[in-house]
């Protein structure tokens, strides 16, 4: 009986604690969506909370489509979406930054430049060997993201057009997984946010323009997508304040430092 009482007390205390913690975070601002924007949003949220210790911003991934859904049904105060909205998606959208979409190969691959047409044919499965685009005589292994990913949808819109991504393309569920795979497989080619490429991968020049923040700003680099914060209707005061911070010079500087291009 004694241990039973002790266990009951412990459980009650735990429940109380979790309720208490939950309660103090009751006013949390939920930001949900694209895994491409997530790391940047987390950084912004951290800075924002340091400036306003009384406000709490909770950033979660899940993907662009999930972010839009969460914003639509009120689960999230702000949805994150890493592609332009379709006409039938009625949200209030704030472009917080623009991001180049990099086409990446391992460092060991001698191919430095590809045309958009070549990239399309590679991912559609029409070009099957690197020798066809000026590389070594190896098979090409395209790596794509899962259906519904904002990065994938942006890639389809900017590169694939009406063609479909080949069924044989390997599918990975995050930028990190694509990176890990491309880094180690000399035949691989993938795509991801330019801000996430790092120095273990090579981002090829597309249509002769090497991807860089400058090339994205000037509009010369062809694969550019917006990073959006969306709200259903007018943003709530809390969401408004966070969005204003993100668009402020301080927030924008942070994003630019991480390799994105300011919204302007």
């Amino acid at each position: 009986m004694k241990w039973f009482l002790a266990a009951a007390v412990v459980i009650l205390v735990l429940i109380g604690l979790s309720l208490g913690l939950g309660g103090s975070r009751g006013g949390a601002l939920n930001v949900v969506g694209s895994t491409s924007i997530q790391p940047f949003a987390e950084m912004l949220a951290q800075r924002y909370q340091k400036m306003h210790p009384d406000r709490y911003v909770d950033v979660q991934g899940g993907g662009s489509t999930a972010g839009l859904q969460a914003a639509a049904n009120g689960v999230a105060d702000i949805g994150m979406c890493s592609r332009s909205l379709k006409p039938e998606e009625p949200f209030t959208a704030f472009t917080i930054a623009r991001d180049g979409l990099a086409v990446v190969v391992p460092l060991s691959n001698p191919v430095d430049t590809l045309s958009r047409d070549q990239i399309r044919k590679i991912f559609a499965g029409d070009i099957l060997r690197w020798s066809e685009v000026g590389g070594e005589d190896r098979p090409i292994r395209p790596i794509t993201r899962e259906e519904g990913s904002g990065t994938r949808e942006a890639f389809v819109k900017l590169v694939m057009g009406k063609s479909r991504i080949s069924r044989k393309a390997l599918t990975q569920e995050s930028n990190g997984a694509v990176k890990e795979l491309v880094k180690n497989d000399s035949c691989a080619i993938g795509f991801m946010s330019l801000g996430l490429v790092g120095d273990e991968l090579k981002a090829v020049a597309v249509d002769g323009v090497a991807p860089s923040a400058a090339a994205v700003t000037s509009g010369r680099y062809p694969l550019v997508r917006p990073f959006l914060f969306v709200t259903q209707g007018k943003p709530s005061p809390g969401a408004q304040a966070f969005i204003e911070y993100v668009l402020s010079p301080d927030g924008q500087r942070l994003l630019e430092k991480e390799g994105l291009v300011g919204a302007k």
Binding site: A66, R167, K168, E173
Partner: protein
């Protein structure tokens, strides 16, 4: 007397709530999934290879093949090594060895599946890619990772089943002049069959249902695999990969994938159970 009735009712209630939870989940999966199967047509849904959810095309044939292939591969590895280990431990080892080895194998079951997946990605996949060719992410990689994951289940339940065989069987067989190996495979394994089948079924359940590790090492292509070195997408990884994004009909199609998975697991279990029962009965008739 009163406390007796109270306890009886409390137990009844807990048992019932566990069961009704299961029933509700099943009902929910079917409620969400069946309409979309009806709309697409069962045959198209199961035998079409076109999975383009954004265009409203839902065919899961490659994933059914994928799930079956990966599970079969995992069972070959899991059963051969697991059963082998169980036979060695129970028939040819001292009790002290069992008391050390069995718990350490069972410890394997406690390792989270992401860890298996991660080891697979970091060590196994590059190894397959460099030595055997192909992308590395493959049926083979998934089978090996899953095989290791089902090993503890298969081994520990088989050990229990083999230990439950009465000593007199073994002694009788040896006394009749059978060698140890003859005794093991003609007497002990047969006597322990139903337990071993249970071990295989449980292992199979884990293999079919495992998701995280498979997503990490299988490559998740939408194509039907033609060799062990081809990448593959299983039913579970299809659900997990696209769940976060799916809306409307796409979401329902993922539930329908769940329905198919449900049916496959039921069929596999039923086959395994009836086969073992029929064999057991025939053995008794003889």
């Amino acid at each position: 007397m009163r406390s007796e009735t109270v306890i009886r009712w409390v137990l009844r209630l807990t048992a019932l709530s566990a069961l009704s939870g299961l029933a509700l989940i099943t009902a929910f999966i079917f409620k969400e999934g069946v309409p979309v199967i009806a709309k697409i047509g069962l045959v198209d849904f199961i035998f079409s290879g076109d999975w383009y959810p954004t265009e409203g095309q839902f065919g899961i044939f490659p994933m059914i093949v994928g799930s079956l292939a990966v599970t079969a591969g995992a069972m070959v590895i899991g059963v051969v090594f697991g059963l082998g280990c169980a036979v060695l431990l129970t028939q040819f080892s001292s009790p002290r060895v069992i008391s050390i080895v069995k718990p350490s194998i069972e410890l394997l079951a406690g390792i989270p599946s992401v860890v298996f997946g991660f080891i697979g990605v970091v060590i196994l996949v590059p190894f397959i890619r460099d030595t055997l060719g192909g992308p590395g992410l493959s049926v083979l990689a998934a089978s090996i990772v899953l095989g290791v994951m089902v090993l503890p289940t298969v081994t520990s339940i088989s050990v229990d089943a083999l230990q439950a065989v009465p000593r007199s069987y073994r002694e009788g067989s040896i006394a009749l002049g059978a060698t140890e190996w003859q005794t093991t495979h003609r007497v002990i394994l047969k006597a322990a069959r139903s337990g071993i089948v249970a071990a295989v079924i449980l292992g199979m359940g884990r293999a079919v249902g495992e998701t995280m590790a498979v997503i990490m090492v299988a490559g998740n292509t939408l194509d039907v695999p033609h060799s062990l070195l081809d990448p593959v997408r299983t039913l579970t990884s299809n659900i997990a990969l696209e769940m976060g994004y799916a809306a409307g009909e796409h979401r329902q199609a993922l539930f329908a994938t769940g329905v198919v998975l449900f049916v496959i697991i039921m069929v596999l279990n039923t086959i395994a159970l009836t086969v073992s029962r029929r064999r057991a009965r025939r053995a008794q008739d003889r």
